[in-house]
Amino acid sequence: MTEMQREVLKIAMPWLFMAVFLVVWEIACVACQIPEIILPRPSRVFEVFVQRFDILLRFCWDTLWTTLIGFLIAIAGGLLLGLAIGASPFVYSGLYPLLIAFNAIPKVAIVPILMIWVGVGALPAVITAFVISFFPIVVNVATGLATIEPEMRDVLRSLGATRTEILTKVGIPRAMPYLFASLKVAITLAFIGSVISETVGGNRGVGFLMLSASARNDAPTTFAGLFAIAIMGVAMYAVCALVEKRMTRWAFRGEIVT
């Protein structure tokens, strides 16, 4: 196999696997005569996807922007809190247990509370997306800061650097690869958050669309919604991965970037 063929195959692999997955699913549905209401065939889902594309697009758009706003707030908040936790052992020991406790709470449980506080609409979805994607960002940024080499710190301290200077010259640049790595995890979590909120109690977004479709026993539309979420998730993940490579070329030692 030539180098060229190898490259082409590498790019084709994900599509190939997806095609195999869908074909197996299709055959299994037909062969076992699974009723559409339980598990629709992918071809049928695709059909509905195309038929109802305009509706899907509208609902997806709602989900997408609420997710992204929640995600952006999570980046800002996670970065700030992560820096605080990583830079100060006192903040670390004080806040970390609280954060873990908070992270352990199932986010489904807080949606009804949010509804009481802020009503239905976009806001609960934004807040849920924020709350769920916040934690990995905080933990990663704090880890990046906490693992500065002691010698690096000594070099700066003996030059007379202040704590703030050590943070800006070493801490923050060092935490960046950790931050960008966490974004890939956080963005998919953010989608989970906003869709949970829309499903539990909402009047908008893909979650709501799926909920009302399944209430009508319209399984193909429900699955079309699932597909739409998956597509958005993969697309946003790809964006985050791209940003990661662009911003922290040094962490990859320039190897991956071409």
């Binding site: 010698e151 000594d154 007379g160 650097a161 030692r253």
Partner: protein
């Protein structure tokens, strides 16, 4: 008056209930622009002396004075180089070398306005160590020896009065190490600063230093202070002359007594 003075300095590391006496009663005086080396068996507290002089660690007993002032916290503007080059992978070699200029006064204040001048100064240093073509490369694109050269440049760019070297050539191969001795000597002869070199290589200590201090086993104390009366510039050929070899032997014998 001596530039760096240690009088009866001791240091105890505490970790929970355990306490280890790392350094006991270290007394030494380093003149201004003198280059000294500290050698000794491993774990004898050589690196501890460095941290005490720079104020990174507070002494448990005794007194450390630099330039007549008692050291109570990290003293500012010291140049430091460790065995690990600790260059920042997100900065180019040039930007790494300029780091002290962004931190040390008075350069910090005028860093923006006089950047070009500082870049030229860094280039001059890079030329001295033979890295002129690598200024725009990242540290991870350099070999270990090149990284250590950049590290020396970074330690010297702000022309510190005091340079602390903690086994800076320890991780390099023998050829690169001997070459860098020459580079170090040339830098010292040109800039003249007070240098403290911590090493376990006796030839390295004898090559570079005016005075070599031998430390005892832990808890470390200074058991021998040896003036190296070989004129500079010393070369690799010097290291094979009988007098040089005798000096190294004398140091080695004293350290062997510690291991006995």
């Amino acid at each position: 008056m001596a530039f760096v003075e240690l009088t009866g300095v001791s240091l105890t590391y505490r970790l929970g209930k355990d306490s280890t006496l790392a350094l006991a009663d270290a007394t030494l005086a380093i003149d201004k622009d003198e280059f000294i080396a500290v050698v000794g068996p491993s774990g004898c507290g050589k690196s501890t002396i460095m941290k005490l002089v720079t104020g990174l660690l507070p002494a448990s007993g005794g007194e450390v004075r630099v330039d007549g002032k008692k050291v109570t916290g990290p003293i500012k503007g010291v140049g430091m180089a460790f065995q690990n080059p600790t260059l920042m992978p997100w900065r180019t070699t040039m930007d790494n070398i300029l780091l002290p200029m962004e931190v040390v006064e008075p350069h910090k204040r005028r860093f923006r306005s006089r950047r070009a001048e500082y870049v030229e100064r860094a280039m001059k240093l890079l030329r001295t160590v033979g890295l002129a073509d690598f200024a725009d490369k990242f540290p991870w694109q350099l070999s270990g020896g090149m990284q250590q050269r950049s590290n020396l440049c970074r330690a010297l760019i702000h022309e510190p009065e005091l340079l602390m070297l903690d086994e800076p050539f320890g991780a390099l191969d023998a050829f690169t190490r001997e070459e860098l001795w020459g580079v170090m000597q040339a830098l010292w002869m040109e800039k003249r600063f007070t240098g403290v070199l911590v090493t376990h290589d006796l030839r390295e200590a004898t090559y570079l230093a005016d005075t070599v201090y031998v430390m005892s086993r832990r808890p470390g104390r200074i058991v021998l202070s040896k003036k190296i009366d070989i004129p500079r510039p010393r070369t690799l050929a010097t290291t094979f002359e009988p007098h040089f070899v005798d000096l190294v032997h004398e140091l080695r014998d004293r350290i062997h007594q510690e291991h006995a």
